[in-house]
């Protein structure tokens, strides 16, 4: 069984799937990722599937599961590089990816994570600034 490597760049974990995954590898990847998110405190997970030729319901479910697990650690998951044929097939199959976010490529995926990260920070600032103003007006 092949294990998919997980790379860490800053506070983002990057998984690039390059092989035709068998189900065991999928399960192993899920476990490895949960492990790494919790140990590194990463705030984002990017799964690059630009080399993946098919996504069936098993792999599709993996994305949803990884996203749910990441959420528990306050991390966002972005799937990037899905091929058109794969997207069309997934729609036909009736599969939705739940809370998984998607982006056209790795760069845009990282931008999505930055935006989400920025949202978090902005929310804290707005709360602190807004309330006193409202209180005194």
């Amino acid at each position: 069984m092949e294990r998919v490597p997980i790379l860490k760049i800053g506070d983002v974990l990057l998984v690039s799937i390059q092989v035709d995954l068998e189900d065991q590898s999928v399960v192993a990847l899920q476990e490895d990722l949960a492990e790494r998110i919790s140990s590194t405190g990463a705030h984002g997970v990017v799964i690059d599937i630009s080399a993946v030729e098919i996504v069936d319901s098993f792999i599709g479910r993996m994305f949803a599961t990884i996203a749910s697990i990441s959420r528990l650690f306050d991390a966002d998951t972005v799937v990037v590089g899905m091929r058109p044929a794969v997207a069309i097939t997934l729609v036909e199959l009736g599969l939705t990816l739940g809370e998984v976010r998607t982006a056209l490529d790795l760069e845009k995926g990282l931008a999505v994570l930055r935006r989400l990260g920025a949202d978090r920070e902005v929310r804290i600032e707005v709360d602190e600034d807004d309330e006193p103003v409202q209180a005194f007006s």
Binding site: D20, E22, I54, V55, L93, L95
Partner: protein, 137 residues
């Protein structure tokens, strides 16, 4: 009016990585039969679902894959044969979201949407055979 157009091969489905081998065989046949990229992807995805069903619910079996042709076009036909417990309620098994195992419950109904011809015969205690065909456009 269908006649075999050459290539035909039978693969066992006993283990996880057999599912990967079935996918690869189906893809290479689909390329030979000149299916469009989207049709190739749909067929491979459908056969991936069915091969996994054979393994998970049928307790293993075989995949019989062949290139077929009629007067106008070529296509790929794949049969998944197991001698497992069979399906007691076929209608229920086709319901989106219904699952008795580890899938998303899109296996059978999803696979049916992805192919041109879908045929299922099952007998409780005897086993299940699913045959799908995808034609070139």
């Amino acid at each position: 009016m269908t006649s075999p157009a050459g290539e035909r091969k039978e693969l066992p489905i006993r283990r996880d990585d057999d599912v990967v081998r079935v996918r690869q065989l189906v893809r290479s046949y689909a390329q030979q039969a000149k299916l469009s990229l989207v049709d190739q992807t749909k067929l491979v995805t459908a056969t991936s679902e069915l091969a996994r069903n054979t393994l998970t619910y049928g307790g293993g079996g075989v995949a019989d894959v062949e290139i077929v042709a009629d007067t106008r076009r070529r296509g790929v036909r794949a049969s998944f044969i197991d001698e497992g417990p069979g399906i007691a309620d076929v209608e229920l098994a086709f319901t989106d979201g219904w699952t008795s195992g580890k899938g998303l419950g899109l296996g059978l109904s999803g696979a049916r949407r992805l192919v041109d011809e879908f045929n299922l015969t099952t007998e409780v205690g005897r086993g299940t055979t699913v045959t799908v065909t995808k034609w070139g456009r």
